[in-house]
Amino acid sequence: MEQAINIILRAMFMENLALVYLLGMCTYIAVSKRVETAIGLGAAIMVVLFVTVPVNQWMYQSLLAPGALAWAGYPELDLSFLRFIVFIGVIAALVQILDLFLERFFLRLHQALGIYLPLLTVNCAILGASLFMVQRSLTFADSVAYGIGVGAGWALAVIMFAAIRERLRYSDAPEGLRGLGLSFIVTGLLAFAVSGLSGIEV
């Protein structure tokens, strides 16, 4: 249990995918104009990460890792180069399901997210989380905790950012800087701030 909390806290703050590793930026900047939508997006990402990281962990260990196919009689096969396609396949299937689900039960959120919901499939944060899971050789239990942690961390980052952006609308920035330019700069400052947490030991 303690190990799980450890992993979750690290994934949420010291190794926050959005603000430390700068993953998932496209969606992060584009869908954070209002806190409401940001919360919806954050929730969607949390669900996707919570399911994809453990599922990908299981697939990798059973099929792709070097020597994983020993149970089928092929212990010397190394199919790890296929992990990109397998992970993306799992993620794509899941996002498609989520898309249909939202369209049926949460239509307004579905419309607000627009093109960015299918783009969750190719959100660097989601693929990146699975790739980090492989690199750190997490166990199944650990990968569940990791999925929760990175999802929560990313959601936290996007909601914070949306809150700041809502207030920025009343600021008096130069015309060329308004909107997109200012978003980038604010995100840069947020990222710098979070990088200060990187030395903490949990």
Binding site: L22, I29, G89, Q96, L119, G176, S195
Partner: protein, 214 residues
């Protein structure tokens, strides 16, 4: 032919994938610390863009609606795996540096973005030009940021020292968030220039409007 030229050039400024379409940021930021990996990354992205745009455009008549997304992603992922393998075999030192980021080209929003919004509805020739144009637009911003960060963070460009030792190095440039700040400034500059150009064009093209205002 003029059509192709316009399609090639538009993404560079008016429709630049990064500044205007807010796409392709992830790998742009992570790889922009020095020029050489950024260059290899740019070439890889252009290669993947060309393959996916052309492949999807060729198939656009026969792609079933229900599996559209997965099909596109499979094509893109296959291209990225091939590019990754080629880099590992012919440029292993750079491949090592790029490591995770080559895989993340699959998730580079530009690639899927162009496929979904252009290649699906346009013929092969146009899609090819669109791919090259967007690739060049993406490369322009990525290489600019990388050059600035390497030059002021390290004093070098492509590994060769340019700035004298006495010139103070800006370590902030070596941290990833500085890429955000640089891109923010680039957007500001390009937007301001664009607005000035539009204002100039509208006054010369429509003298009638001026009279109505004045």
């Amino acid at each position: 032919m003029a059509n192709y030229r316009e399609r090639l050039l538009r993404p560079l400024l008016d429709d630049n994938p990064i500044t205007v379409q807010v796409l392709g940021l992830c790998s742009a930021l992570a790889v922009s610390r020095s020029l050489r990996p950024a260059l290899i990354m740019a070439i890889s992205v252009i290669a993947v863009l060309i393959f996916s745009n052309v492949a999807v455009s060729l198939m656009r008549g026969i792609i079933p609606r229900s599996i559209r997304l997965i099909l596109e992603v499979t094509l893109i992922a296959s291209a990225v795996i091939v590019v990754d393998q080629v880099l590992q075999a012919f440029a292993p030192d750079v491949s090592q540096v790029l490591s995770v980021f080559v895989g993340l080209i699959i998730t580079n929003c530009i690639v899927l973005g162009r496929v979904e919004s252009f290649a699906l509805h346009n013929p092969v020739g146009d899609s090819l030009a669109d791919a090259i144009g967007n690739g060049l637009g993406f490369s322009a911003v990525l290489l600019t940021v990388a050059a600035i960060r390497e030059l002021f963070g390290n004093g070098t460009l492509m590994g060769t020292t340019i700035l004298p030792d006495a010139f103070p190095k800006n370590e902030m440039m070596l941290y990833a968030p500085s890429a955000f700040l640089l891109i923010g400034l680039i957007i500001w500059a390009s937007r301001t220039w664009q607005q000035r150009r539009e204002r100039r064009e509208s006054t010369t093209a429509n003298p009638v409007n001026l009279r109505r205002i004045g």
